[in-house]
């Protein structure tokens, strides 16, 4: 594993057996994270982004089956495949909260109402860095102050119901950062908050990142937040990454029709044009019994009949560090992929035809 990398996800698949068939919300996700980098994972609800980040910590629901490789570059022990570990075992638990920690979408329900905030924050410290309660308390209060919780000594002994939503999210960030993790996974951390509080929390996360060499995996469907926070962006659709590249490139020059659609459906302040806000027609199909086809086929304006519904495009590098999975994009790499796929389909068609003939004979 490359030393500059901290996290590498290889061909991640998540399957959920259901009475009606197998649901495959994540269908082969590949991406990497460098040290200290903020990587965005963008997509609509149900595209598999939350499952992907839960898979990193091994905290998916019991009925989820997870395949692939998630390599974490441990600072002392070297590269480790997190998926190979027992999800209830000691090894992965020593990584959760210590090396990789996570903050959740709704801070109001993410804390247990029965214990004080202090108890729940210092629990993380007690699990990973100290056995001394007083020391854990001191570390927690210091971190609470750092994330801007005023009157931290008093707040430490309060219960979640005595906190506001924004303060609870700060408390959750405290809990995630108290052990100084190498990776912070933020699963839509600002979705449930007021816009003004949102900005504060994002600023806070950036600040905390500056102090350490922490990588952030930022899951969101809010492109404004992505532009503000991320170095790199992975656009996810129907359990696959359809476009990946530096945030600036993706914003300036989106290639994939889906990314394009997303960019156009953001309302821009100051635009004078009086027109309806663009929206992508249709909804994300259910990830069950999918044929070999591009996942976006049904909703795509640029679809190529006979190709996009017959073959699934893979991610190809269209420019340094910029990958797209689309047959219809107008660039060299995509055209090459298209030609290859067409040739393959043709060969298959001939094979099928000759088989038919043989059967007739």
């Amino acid at each position: 594993m490359d030393d500059s990398l901290i996290l590498q996800i290889k061909d991640l698949r998540v399957e959920i057996p259901m009475p009606e068939g197998t649901l495959t919300p994540v269908r082969g996700v590949n991406f990497e994270m460098r040290k200290g980098e903020t990587v965005g994972l963008v997509g609509e609800s149900g595209c598999g982004k939350s499952l992907t980040c839960k898979a990193v910590l091994g905290i998916n629901d019991k009925k989820c089956k997870v395949y692939g490789e998630i390599n974490y570059n441990h600072p002392t022990d070297g590269a480790q495949n997190l998926l190979a570990m027992n999800p209830r075992g000691k090894q992965i638990r020593s990584i959760r909260g210590k090396e990789i920690s996570m903050i959740f979408q709704e801070p109001m329900v993410a804390f247990s109402p029965l214990y004080t905030i202090g108890n729940q924050i210092s629990e993380a410290a007690l699990l990973h860095i100290t056995k001394n309660r007083q020391e854990a308390k001191e570390l927690s209060i210091a971190m609470m102050k750092k994330v801007g919780i005023a009157n931290a000594e008093k707040r430490y002994n309060q219960y979640p119901h005595e906190f506001s939503g924004g303060m609870l999210q700060r408390a959750m960030i405290t809990m995630a950062l108290v052990c100084h993790p190498k990776i912070l996974i933020a699963d839509e951390p600002t979705t449930a908050l007021d816009v003004t509080i949102q900005a504060q929390i994002l600023e806070l996360m950036k600040e905390m990142q500056k102090d350490s060499d922490m990588g952030i995996l930022f899951i969101t469907h809010d492109l404004g937040v992505v532009a503000r926070m991320c170095d790199r962006v992975n656009v996810m659709y129907l359990g696959k990454i359809v476009e990946s590249g530096p945030a600036a490139t993706i914003y300036a020059d989106p290639e994939h029709p889906y990314t394009n659609g997303l960019m156009h459906s953001v309302h821009k302040i100051g635009s004078r044009k009086k027109e309806r806000l663009f929206s992508i027609e249709g909804t994300v199909p259910l990830a069950m019994n999918l044929k070999t086809a591009c996942g976006f086929y049904e909703r795509c304006d640029h679809r190529i009949e006979g190709l996009c519904d017959q073959a699934d495009p893979e991610l190809v590098e269209v420019a340094p560090d910029h990958k797209v999975a689309c047959f219809a994009c107008d660039n060299e790499a995509c055209r090459a992929m298209r030609a290859k796929a067409e040739a393959m389909l043709k060969a298959q068609g001939q094979q099928g035809a000759s088989k038919e003939e043989k059967r007739h004979e």
């Binding site: 839960k54 959740f104 329900v109 993410a110 804390f111 029965l114 214990y115 309660r133 308390k137």
Partner: protein, 368 residues
Amino acid sequence: MENKSLSPKKSIFSSVADFFRQDLIRYIINRILLFFPTILLISIIIFFVIQLPPGDYVSTAIAKLQQEGEEVSAETAQEMRESYGLDQPVIVQYGLWVKDIIWTGSNTTYYRLYNSHHNWKYSFSYQTNVWNVIGKYLPMTVTITLFTMLLQYLIAIPVAVYSATHQYSVGDYAISILTFTGSAIPGFIFAILCMYLSFLWTGNANVGMFTQDMLLNGINWGNLGEFMKRMTIPFIVFGFAGTCGTIRSVRAQMLDEISQQYTLTARAKGVSERKIIWKYCFRAAINPTVTGLGTSLSHLFSGSTVTAMVLNLSILGPVLFHALQYQDMYLAGAIVMVQAILVEVGVLLADIGIAFLDPRIRYSGGSR
């Protein structure tokens, strides 16, 4: 962090101090103060119910005497009324009732009647004061009730947690089938079944609580074994339905809590599964069960009457039934009063328990 020198031992003390934060103490005091007016109200209601049957005791008694061929003069009737205090206003009668029957219990109407008119060949259900009757049955009733409850929770809680953490496993299905069956079977049928099986296997139906020896000498080390043997069926029968119900409710609550977001937070922090279950989920899941403590106490008291009659147990349920049957309203009222007080104590303890378990209760209780 002013106290950097604090040792971890001292911090345990400080966390105990946190535990008894102001709002918790205030809540408990509030709750205890509420206890007394409730009892007063219950006693008034019970007194009212006692007055409900048509006529008063004297007319019932006279009617019975006349049935048996006795002549009762108007003076005797008046004398009896006066001795009961029935000529007094209702509020005074209530006072007399509280004073004589509930407070001292020594001067019950029957007692007085029996002592001052020995020549009356007139049989009441229990010819002694109310407390003597209750005192005879109450210890055994309370023992059985508390022991059954203890047994019920000791068995139900681990089973329910197992069932919830192994949802849809073979064990869970087996437990579900058993608990549904247990909740559905009426206690007295189960009692008869147990007696039958006991007779089939041991040749002894093990009915009744006491042997002659126990009645004469009380329970001692010598006959404790026999006593426990005789108690087995009552415990099984009384405890079974409650255990099944508790398993169902705790299991459902546990499943609810396990799917809460905070378990995911705890897991992401690196907390072990066992600690997630017991520290977070269980403490939240047990909440309704603790709330129901008082109610299940009353259920054990009054709901088990038929079962107790089938098993021929000398506890208060059948006595109450008997008292009601013979319109022995003073005895019935006293028994109901005792039960109400015990249930109130149960509810009080449950409420205090809940306040310990859930800080949100303390909070709203304190601000009331």
